[in-house]
């Protein structure tokens, strides 16, 4: 067998490997660990329900998932969102399918304009605030059947007793339409767990930066490729954008290979680093017993 040197692959091959690796990791997490995102968010809901009822906040299984995922995100960025969240992966699949169909039909895909996307992305904080207030006041338990996440998890688990979930089903269908049109539609605009993640103080070690001075003038290929439309900060800064899902598409898109993470030594080892992060996350999940 010929040994493949990952440092000597062409940019095109690297891109291919990255794409397939990501799809593979997403598929495995989707099939075997689909409940992490709801469990973590149940932690948020639990905390505020307890406070609203004047009860003590214990370290329940939900809260420990929430704490561990937040710590992981602070260190590695929102890798969980980009690679392991079942709902995010589902959205990626829907979007990929839509783009493929558009290509076949030779139609230009519909897109939400960048200005609107930027405006909509603060909506997720509203969603988070509304749910938190509802938990705090104890109203939340009365809205059973409204959550599109519940419907999604039930369908995923093969549970089709969805009689009382009309609102949730309608919301889920609307979200699927959105997911098709806009990459990471739900994650960017509505995900309350994403809202929690993006207000975390994410450390700059593994966040992505670009060497601005080497950029081709007026290129902005990375921003166009980015599902969150992020203008990647310059290497000199330690700025971290909480909207970054760590999908790492920008790294492969850049024609000059200008983009790398905070720790420069990892440059060229993206494949191994991605695998490393996926395995660490898997270890944490197994330890938590999700």
């Amino acid at each position: 067998m010929k040994k493949i040197n990952i440092h000597k692959l062409s940019a095109k091959d690297k891109k291919k490997i990255h794409t397939w690796l990501r799809a593979f990791i997403q598929l495995l997490y989707f099939l075997f660990l689909p409940s992490a995102y709801t469990a973590a968010f149940s932690g948020v809901k639990y905390i505020f329900t307890q406070i609203g009822a004047g009860e003590k906040v214990g370290i329940t299984s939900f809260v420990s998932v929430l704490i561990v995922l937040c710590l992981y995100t602070i260190l590695f960025g929102r890798f969980f969102c980009g690679f392991a969240c079942a709902f995010g992966s589902f959205g990626d699949a829907v979007h990929a399918l839509y783009i493929k169909i558009c290509k076949k039909l030779k139609k230009k895909p519909v897109k939400i304009s960048d200005t609107w996307a930027a405006r909509l992305s603060s909506l997720k904080y509203v969603v988070l605030a509304v749910i938190v207030v509802m938990c705090f006041t104890g109203v939340y338990s009365k809205t059973q059947g409204y959550s599109p996440w519940d419907v999604f998890s039930m369908i995923h688990a093969g549970n089709f007793k969805l009689n009382n979930y009309i609102v949730g089903i309608v919301l889920l269908i609307l979200l699927v339409v959105g997911m098709a049109i806009q990459e990471r539609f739900f994650c960017r605009f509505f995900c309350p767990m994403g809202a929690v993640f993006s207000i975390l103080p994410i450390l700059p070690f593994f966040a992505l930066y670009r060497e601005r001075e080497n950029c081709i003038r007026g290129c902005s290929g990375c921003t166009k490729k980015c599902p969150s439309g992020i203008e990647i900060p310059d290497v000199d800064s330690t700025e971290v954008n909480g909207e970054c899902f760590q999908c790492q598409k920008c790294i492969d898109t850049c024609p000059k290979g200008n983009i790398h993470c905070g720790i420069q030594e990892l440059r060229g080892n993206e494949i191994l680093f991605t695998l490393f992060r996926a395995v660490v996350l898997l270890g944490l999940f197994l330890w938590l017993g999700i």
């Binding site: 469990a39 299984s61 103080p201 800064s237 700025e239």
Partner: protein, 152 residues
């Protein structure tokens, strides 16, 4: 850098508030317990003084179940949950989950909190665990089914 600082401060504030909140509640609980114990001690003193020792034990406990181990099954979130209920002296003494393969780990752990509730109340007429409604309802229904078999 500035936003990072603000985010750190925010996070520390939220964690601090949560810990503080828990501490206040813990202190209150402790005070309550001390007050309760004090009242109990007083009561015992009074009972000794009056020196009336009436042997009146509440023996007429729930005797509607036959002793033994019974199993029950019910639908949880993604499939069947099966439990075993132990009855001793007509009382529910232990409930064990035999299998719940299709439940998600974090949810099942949470849902298990319903077991001490059922044992404390000696009844399945208890509230489900919010956040893990499906799994805890499954456990409750499975126990109900087991108890039906145990009824005399």
């Amino acid at each position: 850098m500035k936003t990072f600082g603000i985010k750190v401060i925010n996070m520390i504030a939220i964690i601090g508030l949560l810990l503080g909140y828990n501490m206040v509640l813990e202190n209150r609980e402790r005070d309550d317990q001390i007050a309760k114990l004090k009242a109990e001690v007083e009561g015992l003193k009074l009972a000794q003084q009056s020196a009336i020792s009436e042997n009146s034990e509440g023996t007429s406990e729930n005797d509607s179940y036959a002793d033994g181990t019974y199993s029950g099954e019910a639908e949880g979130f993604g499939g069947l949950i099966s439990v075993e209920v132990e009855i001793e002296d007509g009382m529910i003494t232990n409930i064990e989950i035999v299998s719940a393969e299709s439940e998600d780990g974090a949810y099942l752990t949470m849902a298990k909190d319903i077991i001490p509730e059922i044992i404390d109340n000696q009844s399945t007429d208890v509230d489900t665990i919010s956040g893990a409604t499906f799994s805890s309802t499954g456990i409750r229904n499975a126990v109900t089914q087991a108890l039906e078999k145990a009824e005399k």
